[in-house]
Symmetry: C2
Subunit: 334 residues, 2 copies
């Protein structure tokens, strides 16, 4: 039996390498996934000839583009015919089930919240990021949707993260950790102590405090924090990995001996770099909105775009938003 | 001309490998630095025979030990004859000019604040950590002394960090960044926006927002944040570097070809690991107390202890505490 077609709206104008990298990514994902259909949103002269030349691809003209440096909420309110707003509207109206963009993260968050809308009962949607932890992938959230949080937001982040890891990554009983600065429950800032108390009382699967070093060990399936700390951690991981590879490159160039050694390990080492690259996962899921919204890295290349679209389709099939809504309704009853 | 002797009190009972690693570290630092003298604080049966056998080493009996998992402030108040409290008392009384411990960080912070005392005008002492950023070392603070901060604390952290980098690391005009989640001044949490405003108004050398990826690039000499975020970042860097080396080790063991390659680069790669190890710097300076207090990693080996003691002596010679006090007095006048 063929799987049913899933339709993903794609912001063709978003990202440092748009529109070419996005078009290449769409071409790639369509070729590899006969059960995915794409609505390419963007300037008509870009999306229309492309859609005409590709099967399972429709064009949706959008006359405006939101730049990376515009004020997100203002841009979304003002540019109602931008590719981001148009793509989100397709999801709201049911023409698409998911949306992918490598454009302005802030604008995507605003549009997803304002246009697609929050799941009933969700206080704040949160942006998640799958990290390549050693033992298994770890979902960190919020990585930037909410710089200021209240403790009850974090309880919901834990619940949404759990659903994502269960539905999409096949983790039967996700272990959820609260990012903190010590293992004991009385450790941390006043905010963290109160989050711990509320998560312990209300969150199934809560496994105590996680520390910074745990985000890459895989000891937790989900690590929950506010959007300020989460964004700092995410960028610290990116920076640490980049700096480490610079040091390693220097070592490889140090002498004729190390140069020969480098040749022998280079190909395999590139795989580590790939594993740690944000392109591999393809995007950060925005959890808590009614639909599958994925935001890609601004620097996304074609591979990252293809992975992001495929991941958005998987998120649709796994019905992450539906299960979050159902779980929330259940918990509210208890 | 011989440099004058600097006396450092050392907590012989602190750390996972105490007392042996601490004694070995003292032996090492004494052998390498004829201008350093140590007061070894600890159980008499441990420190007395050691001091008797080493030049420039005195013993100071301390009948109690604060364990790593004790409540810091309570332990410091109750165990007045513990090696940490006794060591800090030697600094307060002027018998020593600096103190080093690889024991409980919390207990060292409590004892340093309660016993050694804050510099006049300093609201909260902060724990700094030198990070091995690519272009030059970067001082991150606070890395854990104050989980809850007010914006004006961070202005002082910036000032203290600047003095440290100028006096001790020879940076003529340190660039101070505020850890935040975007470059623009209106970005971030309410707390971060207010910190930015106050730092911009009052802090010489303030160079705007730094992001998570900047803590390892060397684009800033000092990166300032609250003790919660700073501790999370520090542990994230440690964890990222550990995970990356695990991945690299797996690559090296992957095939006969990579095993040969690994042999050729192994020695040089070990240097990178050393550079990134917390042992290399030897300890985290506690800035804002009247004296040079350095806290080592719990896992400190002899090398880290020796480096920590040497760094405490350098901090004394550079008169970091004195210059902080003078700068604060000057700024207050303005």
């Amino acid at each position: 039996m063929m799987a049913e077609l899933v339709t993903i709206a794609v912001d063709v104008m978003g990202g440092d390498n748009a529109p070419q990298a996005v078009l290449d990514g769409i071409e790639r994902v369509l070729a590899e996934n006969p059960d995915i259909q794409v609505i390419a949103c963007g300037l008509p002269e870009v999306v229309e000839p492309f859609a005409a030349a590709h099967e399972r691809c429709k064009a949706q003209a959008a006359s405006e583009v939101i730049a990376m440096d515009e004020h997100p909420a203002n841009a979304v309110r003002r540019k109602k015919d931008s590719s981001i707003v148009v793509g989100c509207r397709l999801v709201k109206e049911g023409a698409a089930q998911g949306f992918f963009s490598a454009g302005s993260t802030g604008a995507c968050l605003s549009a997803a919240t304002l246009v697609v809308g929050r799941i009933k009962g969700i206080k704040r949607p949160a942006l998640g990021q799958i990290l390549p932890a050693y033992e298994r992938p770890t979902l960190l959230l919020d990585v930037g949707a909410n710089a200021d949080c209240k403790p009850d937001y974090l309880v919901q982040f834990g619940l949404m993260g759990s659903v994502f890891m269960r539905q999409l990554m096949g983790v039967a009983a996700p272990r959820v950790g609260l990012l903190n600065i010590g293992e004991e429950e009385e450790k941390g800032s006043e905010f963290a102590v109160e989050c711990h108390r509320q998560m312990k009382a209300a969150l199934p699967g809560f496994s105590g405090n996680a520390e910074g070093r745990d985000v890459l060990t895989g000891h937790f399936d989900v690590v929950v924090t506010d959007g300020f700390t989460g964004n700092v951690v995410l960028k610290t991981v990116e920076g640490a990995s980049k700096t480490l590879f610079r040091y390693i490159k220097d070592v490889f160039m140090a002498s004729p001996k190390t140069k020969v050694g480098a040749l022998l390990v280079k190909a395999d080492l590139a795989e580590v770099k790939t594993k740690l690259s944000p392109d591999t996962y393809g995007g950060a899921p925005l959890l808590g909105v009614k639909g599958a919204v994925l935001v890609g890295h601004g620097s996304s290349g074609a591979l990252a775009v293809a992975n992001g679209i495929a991941k958005a389709a998987e998120t649709v099939r796994a019905d992450v938003a539906g299960v979050i809504a159902a779980t929330l309704a259940e918990e509210a009853v208890q």
